[in-house]
């Protein structure tokens, strides 16, 4: 049975070890994988997050292109040099990448123009051309007018959009409304570093334009058109590095830029800019060590989570081990108890058996023998009964299945009757007592009796012959009853003092070879607790032990 038990526990322990080893391996493996993953992820991020940077960087341009440029149309051709200057000022201020704006104050009419485009009767030409920009000197704002035609050259942005306008009007289907996108693409021209935009006329005007192309209208109408060319400087685009930990440096470079000294120390990637900036690209560069930092900053939280999981698993394993340990100790204690108890029962039972045998085998019993055996049987039966009661009472108290009796007890009478019964049993037991401060109080006399009996029993048992003395003192101190049981016995070793109130605990020595189950003091403690008090012990080896019991003082 012992072998089974120990081998059983050893197997569990092995399991735990296996478990710990396995999860440790798993932990290290996952750390390794996580690190590899972080590395790959950051490398991927390096080449994919550039879209994000591009979007943020190009945001103001998109706003300019989609919202600001169409605003030219809102003026419906009513812009002149002063208002155009105001308009471009807001543009130049808000969009730093616009370096210069050229404004063609133009007309569409039936009369041929000298500068501009003539397509049959449809003519489109500038009245005046102005340029605006922070670097434009004041005296050269006006580039062209009817009287001064020097700066107007064919191949200009004006003609580019002029041809577009003519071909659009020519192929216009006046029956249906052209879509917004169709209009926008026909009234704007996007070339490298410049956007040209012509205000979109109303549908009614376009119909007249078409008519003008076919024939000369009687009223010879003149329509105002505003053409604006925005010159853009890609280097003035404000780069928004939305991933400063990923990209060390972002620059705008020509599309052909390809440095030869790109060593292994650096990682680089690029993305082409849209629209008029398509000859340029965003060039991203980071050193390897810079990237490594980002890898670690990505890996660290993963590692921490893994560590946490690992720690929790370890804790669980430890707790399981501890529980197993406690269970094994409990198992051992209970086993001891059964051994002790069966031993305890064995003695009276064998005595009864011998006595029974003797009575049966004897042909006749003398009166003395009869009395002798009778006494033996009676005593041993009492012993068994006492054992049974003790066990029962103990389990009852432990389970709190009995209730307290409240009776008035006189301390003096109670101690005296205890002393009397013990000195009757053990003639060499010297017992003294003192009571001071009170006499009558309310308690459960049966439980109190058990307490006194147990402690007196112990004092007798653990004292050397000739020195079996017990002094009981009962005092009322600060409203509580303090009972002291002081003997001159063998004492208790300091290391055992904290265990003596535990169930099934016995100090191994010659005094308790028989008749002890290690329940006495545990029982006392349960009793005192049950009565609402507390029990303490003081002891010195070979000098004696003192049990101190404090009980609540309840008086009538």
């Amino acid at each position: 049975m012992i072998a089974d038990k120990t081998s059983g526990y050893r197997k569990n322990f092995l399991l735990i070890i296996t478990f710990i080893v396995l999860i440790s391996v798993l932990f290290i493996l996952s750390l390794f994988l996580a690190f590899n993953f972080s590395n790959k992820y950051i490398e991927n991020e390096f080449s994919s997050a550039k879209v994000d940077v591009l979007e943020k960087t190009i945001g103001p341009y998109n706003d300019f292109f989609q919202n600001k440029i169409p605003e030219v149309s809102y003026y419906n051709g009513f812009l002149d040099s002063a208002t155009a200057a105001k308009f471009t000022d807001t543009v130049l201020l808000k969009y730093p990448f616009v370096s210069k704006v050229i404004f063609y104050d133009s007309e569409v009419k039936n009369e041929p123009v000298r500068d501009g485009i003539n397509a049959s009767h449809f003519s489109f030409g500038p009245k005046a051309i102005y340029q605006f920009g922070s670097l434009v000197p004041l005296d050269s704002v006006k580039l062209f007018s009817y009287d001064n035609t020097r700066s107007f050259s064919v191949g200009d942005d004006f003609n580019a959009i002029g041809f577009k306008l003519v071909s659009f009007v020519e192929s216009l289907d006046t029956a249906k409304a052209p879509s917004q996108d169709e209009l926008f693409s026909n009234f704007s021209a996007i070339r490298s570093n410049r956007i040209t935009y012509l205000n979109i006329p109303r549908r009614e005007d376009l119909k007249v334009y078409k008519e003008m192309m076919r024939r000369k209208l009687a009223s010879s109408p003149v329509y105002q058109q505003d053409l604006l060319t925005f010159q853009l400087d890609p280097y003035k685009i404000r780069i928004v590095n939305s991933r400063p930990l990923l990209y060390q440096r972002i620059r705008i470079e020509p599309l052909t830029y390809d440095p030869i000294d790109a060593s292994d120390l650096y990682m680089a990637t690029e993305i082409t800019l849209p629209g008029p900036f398509s000859d340029y690209k965003l060039y991203f560069q980071s050193s390897r060590s810079f990237i490594k930092k980002e890898v670690f900053s990505y890996f660290l939280p993963i590692a921490l989570i893994l560590l946490l999981v690992y720690a929790v698993l370890m804790l669980v394993a430890m707790l399981i081990y501890r529980n197993l340990n406690i269970n094994s100790k409990m198992f051992k204690l209970q086993y001891d108890f059964i051994t002790n108890f069966s031993h305890e029962f064995k003695t009276p039972v064998s005595v009864i058996k011998i006595a029974g045998n003797n009575i049966r085998s004897a042909s006749s019993l003398s009166e003395r023998e009869q009395k002798h055996y009778g006494k033996i049987l009676d005593e041993e039966a009492d012993k068994l009964n006492g054992l049974m009661n003790k066990l029962l009472a103990f389990t009852q108290i432990e389970n709190k299945s009995i209730s307290l009796n409240q009776e008035e007890v006189s301390m003096r009478d109670f101690i005296e009757s205890t002393i009397e019964s013990h000195t009757l049993k053990y003639s060499d037991f010297e017992m003294t007592y003192e009571v001071s401060g009170f006499d009558k109080f309310i308690t459960d006399p049966v439980l109190l009796g058990s307490l006194f009996d147990n402690l007196a029993e112990n004092a007798y048992k653990y004292s050397n012959p000739g020195n079996k003395k017990l002094h009981i003192s009962a005092r009322l101190i600060r409203g509580r009853i303090v009972l002291r049981f002081t003997d001159k016995g063998i004492g208790i070793a300091a290391q055992d003092l904290e265990h003596i109130f535990k169930k099934f605990f016995r100090i191994q020595n010659q005094y308790n070879q028989q008749g002890s189950v290690g329940l006495g003091l545990a029982f006392c403690k349960e009793l005192v607790n049950f009565m609402g008090g507390e029990i303490r012990v003081k002891s010195k080896i070979n000098r004696g032990t003192e049990f101190i019991i404090v009980l609540p003082y309840i008086n009538t």
């Binding site: 989609q66 919202n67 169409p70 605003e71 149309s73 809102y74 003026y75 419906n76 051709g77 009513f78 812009l79 002149d80 002063a82 208002t83 105001k86 409304a177 917004q180 209009l183 979109i200 109303r202 549908r203 009614e204 005007d205 009687a218 009223s219």
Partner: protein, 628 residues
């Protein structure tokens, strides 16, 4: 048992149908408000024997006549697409009608004899508009019309031969004539010339002479000739406010250009109409408008004659819609603020009144709400008038409000049945209409005070009005929305962008979003009025900053609250592309915008279905924002 079960099932089913969602009690269906008239444009033939009207058939109007004596009905037009838009009698048997045309295209004109039927096309020039100047036939075959056939920007006078449809020039427009007026015999004797800012009244004694300028006045003045006074052929009745703040009815000597007589003038009353009797060549009464229109009789005979009508039709407004040449047979229309009214036939000789048709039979007077005149003082001390229509029943304070600025420029809200107002009031909103400065009918000063104040003082008037309504404890300051059409939409958007704290939502129907485009959209044949619009709205050459600062299209960044924007993408009066661009920008800025593209019409759709769609969307939008 089974029978019981079935009965129970039936009961449950009936409950289900009873609780069917949709029209709540007291809530009148959208369509009932905006129903097309079954019968419209009642007229009477010159001999007073035949009634005529347009009847709605499959959403199309066709022309019908009815013999007054026998009650015999004849259908004259059988159009299957594009119905009759307008018609008039030209002789005792013949009528001319116009077919529906897309906006800003020419006129399609037909003539029909009521006894013969079979309409004949007179003109179908897709470019030229034709307007009848004088409905009397000359030599039994010529009709005087004005047309921009020669030049789309000017109207010349032609003689239209109704027998063969040919046009011959009667008077060439030098370019500045805005209107032509004939005398009782149909002779072209008066013309109004305009250079955009100033109007000149021209006169000639007979048709062989050239027109001679008589009176010149600024467009800020009103000078509207009504008809010739008496038989001398040189005195004209006119509504004028030259040298006055309010309109008066005067007699004008067209030879000297002098004001001869003031027939009616009051410091507080504005003359808006003169009821001119052609047969007697005199004005019988004037209509003055304060918060509502009222008649002021000019002679005892007229008082007796029209007083009789007031007796026959008490507690309602009466308007003469048509009459015969002898002024014996009349078509009348009645209305109140709670009743769109009905058409009546009145034969004065017999003093007989006959009801012809209801304008909208779905509207019951008892369910409609009262329209009350209100006035408040603006921050600069001007008295601004308006109307307040409170929903029926319930409490009369802390109500959700829809502010309804009227369209413009130069118009006003008047007292009477307004389907839009009643619809909104029926939905539980207090409807607040404001005749902001620049509105017509409150004198010259009040009107000119609104010039170039769009988005500025005009907006402030609306804001002051709303604040006044809050102080009166009528408006719940957390539930005020603003909705307008055309310039009303412009004001709504303006108020929303400049005073976002005051309104929870704004709705614009075919709203002007850009003053530049508005000026561009003035059609070429109104070119003469362009300078006037520059004065009223703003000059795109000199007032660029002002126009930019108040045009919503430039300021999509100032909007924060829900918007409802509706327009017809083919509407020539606005630039639809701009509105779409505007909506796109608002959406990019995450402003909740409900954009409704109307499939036809400009301000209000012609088709009942389209109207229903628009108002249902508007109702849902207001409900979402005002009934939280």
């Amino acid at each position: 048992m089974r029978v019981l079960k079935n009965l129970f099932l039936l009961f449950v089913l009936s409950l289900l149908f009873a609780c069917k969602p949709g029209v709540k009690t007291g809530e009148i269906a959208v369509n009932d408000f905006f129903k097309s008239q079954d019968r419209a444009q009642y007229k009477v033939s010159p001999d007073g024997k035949t009634l005529s009207y347009l009847k709605l058939q499959d959403n199309l109007q066709n022309l019908f006549t009815e013999d007054i004596a026998t009650g015999k009905v004849t259908q004259l037009s059988f159009l299957k697409s594009r119905g009759v838009r307008f018609y008039l009698w030209v002789s005792k048997d013949e009528l001319i009608f116009y077919r529906d045309q897309p906006l800003q295209t020419g006129a399609e004109m037909y003539i029909v004899n009521k006894n013969e039927g079979a309409p004949r096309k007179l003109s179908a020039d897709p470019k030229a508009k034709i307007r009848v100047l004088e409905d009397q036939l000359i030599d039994n075959k010529f009709l005087l019309v004005a047309s921009n056939k020669r030049d789309s920007t000017v109207f010349d006078v032609y003689k239209l031969n109704i027998r063969d449809g040919s046009l011959s020039l009667a008077a060439r427009n030098p370019g500045n004539i805005a209107d032509w007026i004939t005398d009782a015999e149909g002779r072209l004797k008066l013309a109004i010339a305009s250079d955009g800012v100033n109007e000149t009244l021209l006169f000639r004694d007979n048709e062989s002479q050239a027109f001679r300028p008589v009176i010149k006045s600024s467009f800020k003045n009103t000078l509207v000739p009504i008809g010739f006074a008496g038989k001398d052929g040189r005195t004209v009745y006119a509504i004028s406010n030259i040298n006055r703040d309010k309109n008066a009815l005067i007699e004008l000597d067209m030879v000297t250009g002098k004001e001869q007589k003031v027939l009616f003038y009051s410091d507080s009353l504005n003359v808006v109409e003169g009821q001119y009797s052609r047969a007697k060549a005199q004005v019988e009464y004037v209509v003055v408008e304060t918060w509502k229109k009222q008649k002021r009789y000019l002679n005892e005979r007229a008082k007796a004659f029209y007083g009789k009508l007031d007796e026959l039709l008490p507690k309602t407004e009466i308007k003469i819609m048509a009459r015969d040449k002898n002024e014996n047979v009349f078509v009348l229309r009645t209305f109140t603020d709670r009743n769109p009214g009905s058409y009546y036939l009145y034969i004065s000789g017999q003093q007989k009144l006959k009801k012809l048709a209801d304008i909208n039979s779905s509207i019951h007077e008892a369910e409609m709400c009262e329209m009350k005149p209100v006035s408040f003082t603006s921050r600069d001390g001007l008295t601004v008038n308006g109307y307040l229509t409170l929903p029926k029943g319930g409490k009369k304070e802390k109500l959700p409000v829809v502010v309804l600025p009227h369209n413009g420029p130069r118009s006003r809200n008047g007292w009477g049945y307004d389907a839009e107002v009643q619809f909104l009031a029926n939905r539980g909103y207090a409807v607040f209409q404001i005749n902001y400065r620049g509105s017509d009918g409150y004198g010259k000063q009040f009107m000119t005070a609104g010039f170039k104040q769009w988005g500025k003082k005009i907006r402030e008037d609306v804001i002051d009005g709303v604040n006044w309504l809050i102080v009166q404890n009528i408006a719940d300051r957390k539930r005020i929305a603003i909705y307008g059409t055309g310039f009303g939409g412009f004001i709504a958007l303006n108020c929303m962008s400049e005073n976002p704290g005051l309104f929870v939502a704004a709705a614009s129907n075919s709203g002007v979003v850009n003053l530049f485009s508005y000026l561009k959209s003035i059609p070429p044949f109104w070119k003469t009025s362009l300078q006037m619009y520059y004065e009223i709205v703003g000059n795109p050459l000199t007032d660029v900053d002002y126009m930019r600062s108040v045009s919503p299209v430039f300021h999509s960044d100032r909007f924060k609250k829900p918007l409802f924007i509706a327009q017809n993408a083919k509407d020539p009066r606005v630039n639809p592309g701009e509105t779409i661009q505007f909506v796109k920008e608002l959406k990019k800025r995450n402003i909740p915008v409900t954009y409704l593209e109307k499939d036809e019409g400009s301000y209000q759709e012609k088709k009942e279905e389209s109207r229903k769609r628009f108002y249902a969307a508007l109702e849902a939008f207001l409900k979402e924002n005002l009934k939280k």
